[in-house]
């Protein structure tokens, strides 16, 4: 099985996310948008500019690397490179939108929530993802979801490619075999 979504699909999904998000927050109030490295960061950038176009004027941005907070660190074997986290803004007492590309087990989001706790206490944290592929292992759900594939088995792979990182916009759902 192989399903491909092209640039137009990706743009449409992001537009749809932006429109849902803009309806849920006040354009005149502060909003912190934090992307999870690597593609969550890119996606956060696109969402932020979409919100800016819709009159959001007090957006603060940040980037989160969750490696240090992963709960499988002792199992994954050789260490992947930890990339810097960059949250220079005060995240306390204002709404925060967490952005990632794919929502799967929920463990990345759990790690991200733990990391955010070390930076402050936002008034509310909401989660936006481009693709929800099911398969949750924790009670975590997206608040703004671009598309839902239904529960995909573990031998499926969901690759989100974004032009800033990969040269093109694309979502690829395929079997690993």
């Amino acid at each position: 099985m192989r399903t491909q979504y092209d640039q137009a699909d990706v743009h449409r999904l992001i537009d749809q996310l932006v429109s849902e998000i803009s309806a849920a927050f006040l354009a005149s109030s502060p909003l912190t948008i934090i992307g999870i490295r690597t593609r969550g960061e890119t996606l956060a950038g696109r969402i932020a500019s979409g919100l800016t176009d819709r009159g959001f004027s007090r957006i603060a941005r940040g980037v989160l690397d969750i490696t240090m907070y992963r709960d499988d660190l002792s199992e994954i074997g050789p260490r992947p490179l930890v990339r810097p986290t960059d949250i220079a803004v005060d995240i306390n007492q204002k709404p925060l939108l967490l952005v990632d590309d794919v929502l799967f087990t929920g463990r990345s989001i759990r790690a991200a929530l733990n990391a955010l706790t070390d930076y402050g206490r936002p008034s509310v944290i909401r989660l936006a993802v481009l693709v929800d592929r099911g398969g949750r292992e924790l009670p975590i759900q997206g608040d703004f979801v671009g598309m839902q594939t239904g529960d995909l088995s573990r031998d499926h792979r969901v690759n989100v490619r974004l032009s800033e990182n990969d040269g093109r916009d694309e979502i690829l759902v395929e079997s690993k075999h």
């Binding site: 490696t67 907070y69 074997g77 260490r79 930890v82 990391a115």
Partner: protein
């Protein structure tokens, strides 16, 4: 080759390599890619120390023992704090209050410590090769915190990190390491690290303490500091080791300062953007003029700050293998 290349898209910014070493014993054995991997990891850990909550859970549940058979303030403290910032538990072991004074061997001591469930042993020892020997005899990770005159790899790494931070690169720079080269593990770790990263290394010191033999390892050996003073980008002043100063190898303190000290007169003949480093502890007024050490071109305190990030990176990496 210790690095495996993962399949990646060439357009992605994801680093393609993973760390695969269980121990950090020397810089001589590391590749340039591995050194770069540690420095990049340290970049990420440096950010942790700028937060109001300076702690991440990366090594939660791990135990580190600081095993120091020689005196040390900053290295020992730096390792302990690095481990604590990663949420590891830290035990301190010192020779003077231990069974080593009753004649226990290093390996037996280490195996006993390990039997308590230790994950990382940080070892400082007066014998060159002690860390290697230990690594062959225990199951846990071993990090060399200085073995005799052999190597002090985390010092070498933090020096590289500090240079890279200051210049944005290491390649192409000329770095002078000045003083008692022969007895210095810092000089050796500097040499290996700097050469691998593409810098030129000049060893400067009296012929008794800075033998020509180092040229075979790739250093330029110079006995007259003033000959090279104008071409150096980084000066790493080693500590005058008073414990050796009475030996016939060593000139008098005044003679040393006049020929090899970083004096105002010499400093003024340096490149305008010369960067001054010192591994500490400093002898102010002997190897380095006090106001140069405290001046704007000094990176000495940055070295200490960066040492923490570099040691966090090293502990994090070796604990994963």
């Amino acid at each position: 080759m210790m690095l495996s290349i993962e399949q990646t898209n060439p357009m992605t910014t994801d680093a393609p390599i993973r760390w695969t070493r269980k121990h950090l014993l020397s810089l001589e054995e590391l590749s340039a890619d591995e050194i770069r991997f540690i420095l990049d990891t340290a970049d990420s850990f440096k950010e942790v120390s700028t937060r109001s909550i300076k702690k991440v859970p990366a090594l939660r549940g791990k135990v580190l023992v600081n095993t120091f058979f020689e005196d040390s303030t900053r290295t020992r403290t730096s390792f302990a704090l690095a481990a604590q910032r990663l949420s590891a538990d830290v035990i301190d072991f010192s020779e003077k209050t231990s069974s080593v004074s009753k004649g226990e061997t290093l390996v037996d001591t280490a195996r006993n410590i390990e039997a308590m469930g230790v994950d990382i042993i940080v070892l400082r020892h007066p014998a060159a090769g002690a860390a290697q020997k230990l690594a062959r005899n225990v199951q846990c990770s071993v990090v060399n915190a200085g073995d005799g005159a052999h190597e002090h790899p985390t010092q070498g790494l933090l020096d590289l990190y500090t240079i890279r931070e200051r210049f944005g690169r290491i390649e192409g720079l000329t770095v002078a390491v000045v003083g008692d080269i022969a007895n210095s593990r810092v000089a050796r770790s500097n040499l290996w690290g700097l050469l691998k990263m593409g810098a030129k290394v000049i060893f400067v010191g009296p012929s008794t303490l800075c033998p020509r033999a180092f040229e075979q390892l790739g250093a330029t050996v110079v006995h007259n500091f003033d000959d090279v003073i104008g071409q150096i980008d980084v000066i790493n002043m080693l500590r005058v080791q008073f414990e050796r100063i009475k030996s016939s190898q060593f000139p008098s303190v005044r003679e040393f300062t006049s020929f090899f000290g970083l004096t105002w007169d010499r400093f003024q003949r340096c490149k305008k953007d010369v960067f001054i480093m010192h591994p500490g502890p400093m002898n102010r007024g002997i190897e380095i003029q006090s106001d140069i050490a405290d001046g704007p071109q000094s990176g000495i305190l940055k070295q200490v700050t960066n040492g923490l990030a570099v040691r966090m990176a090293v502990l994090y990496l070796v604990a994963g293998v």
